[in-house]
């Protein structure tokens, strides 16, 4: 990081020959601040672990509570998911998210030919619940939320599996194919979501202002990947997205 402090900065003081005195003090301050920061973090960690021990049942059974807990861990650099040999493993969160990740991957693969490898997190959750998939977290069967699924997908991502989450409008979706979806593609999917139905290339042109080649390029990829299906009706060509359409069905 480059600092420019102007005349009153270290550089200026250096010119005045006061560097050594000042910089020693600066080092002292830095060290003290760092030390006290570390002390604070340590204290917070202790508080966090006490919290985890006291509330481990709630963490296991209540997705909302679990997420509050995880959001407290993050700023402290504590990751209960990956820390294996530490005492965080008593929470068994690593196992839970690992199991969930496997199930999420299974669902995505199963539906891939139908939706081209993109589906909403909500639909994944629905499928898992319909299948009656249960997980044990710290010896309790737990409910799992969309946030849990997103964390599980992050795990998959780290394994380099091509899985990732994207946000289209307000909807969070998981992409399980390595296809590069750029902003143009996302905008088209977004439009399909807004329309809640089939879209035509003309509609895309009208809304985005792109020329027809650009629209075609985006649409062709989505069609080729199986993320969009073609609907010929009364001389017009509509494009529908199974992943988006699923969300419009009554849950």
């Amino acid at each position: 990081m480059a600092h420019r402090r102007g005349r009153a900065g270290i550089g200026a003081l250096a010119k005045k020959g006061e560097t050594s005195k000042f910089s020693k003090k600066a080092e002292e301050i830095k060290t003290t601040s760092l030390q006290s920061a570390m002390d604070t973090v340590k204290k917070l960690e202790v508080k966090l672990t006490e919290f985890a021990k006291t509330h481990h049942e709630a963490i296991a059974s209540d997705p909302a509570f679990r997420h509050k807990f995880l959001s407290m861990c993050a700023p402290l650099g504590v990751d209960p998911l990956t820390t294996k040999k530490s005492f965080w493993s008593f929470l068994k969160m690593g196992d839970f998210y690992h199991e969930l990740a496997v199930k999420v991957a299974e669902v995505c693969y199963a539906y891939r030919t139908r939706n081209g490898g993109i589906m909403s997190i909500h639909e994944v959750q629905k499928v898992l619940m319909t299948r009656g998939t249960k997980f044990r977290l710290n010896n309790m069967t737990t409910k799992y939320s969309e946030d849990d699924i997103i964390i599980a997908i992050e795990k998959l991502k780290k394994l380099g599996s091509g899985f990732r989450t994207i946000s289209v409008g307000g909807t969070r979706m998981v992409v399980s194919v390595p296809t590069e979806l750029d902003n143009d593609h996302m905008q088209v999917i977004q439009l399909a979501q807004d329309i809640s139905g089939g879209i035509t290339m003309d509609m895309v042109e009208d809304v985005t202002g792109w020329n027809s080649d650009r629209v075609r390029r985006a649409m062709d990829l989505l069609l080729a990947e199986g993320m969009a299906w073609l609907d010929r009706y009364e001389g017009l060509e509509f494009y529908w997205f199974p992943s988006v359409w699923k969300e419009t069905l009554v849950s």
Binding site: T113, R114, G116, G198, L223, A224, G226, W229, L230, D231, R232, Y233, F238, W240, P242, W245, L249
Partner: protein
């Protein structure tokens, strides 16, 4: 009592009624059509599909229907899969083979083996309506279809057929 058929979700998806240009998607689509045709006719116990008035070709609720080219594509694919065969040259009626004759043949032979019918005789009637065949895939099967299956077994040397006083009493000896 004819029971109501529960249409699959895909039946309400407009593009289902357009033959997909992308091959992988089209294959998925054809698979879904085969499933739909088979499960519809099987659950309502309809033995023949009449191409010109099959209710599966349109969904009024979403305002979509297959055009005649699409119907042909789907029917050709269906027959090719082995689950249907044309009753006439003009391809207007298709017999639904909810189990392919080959599958029925092996089901029958397995049953015969399990139930000690090897080297013994049973009648065609017993095969589709007898007491021992509850829950078997060939229970209540079309006699025509059964005979086809038995012919396959004969060719494989796994049985032999002989005439009874009535066609129902025609006998089968399993080897």
């Amino acid at each position: 009592m004819p029971k109501q058929f529960e249409y699959p979700e895909i039946f309400s998806f407009a593009p289902f009624f357009t033959i997909q240009p992308v091959l992988a998607t089209r294959e998925k689509q054809m698979g879904l059509w085969r499933e739909l045709i088979l499960s519809y006719h099987t659950s309502l116990k309809i033995k023949t599909l009449r191409v010109h008035d099959c209710p599966l070709w349109k969904n009024k609720e979403i305002g979509r229907e297959l055009n005649s080219e699409a119907i042909n594509t789907i029917m050709e694919d269906f027959v090719e899969s082995g689950h249907g065969e044309w009753e006439d040259q003009t391809k207007t009626r298709c017999r639904i083979l909810w189990r392919k004759p080959e599958q029925l043949a092996s089901d029958i032979y397995d049953w015969a083996d399990t139930n000690g019918f090897i080297n013994s005789v049973c009648t065609v009637y017993e095969l589709h309506s007898g007491e021992d065949i509850n829950g078997m895939s060939f229970e209540g099967a079309d006699e025509e279809l059964l005979r086809r299956a038995l012919l396959i077994l004969e060719k494989q040397g796994k049985c032999t057929m002989f005439k009874g006083e009535t066609s129902e009493e025609d006998g089968i000896k399993f080897f």
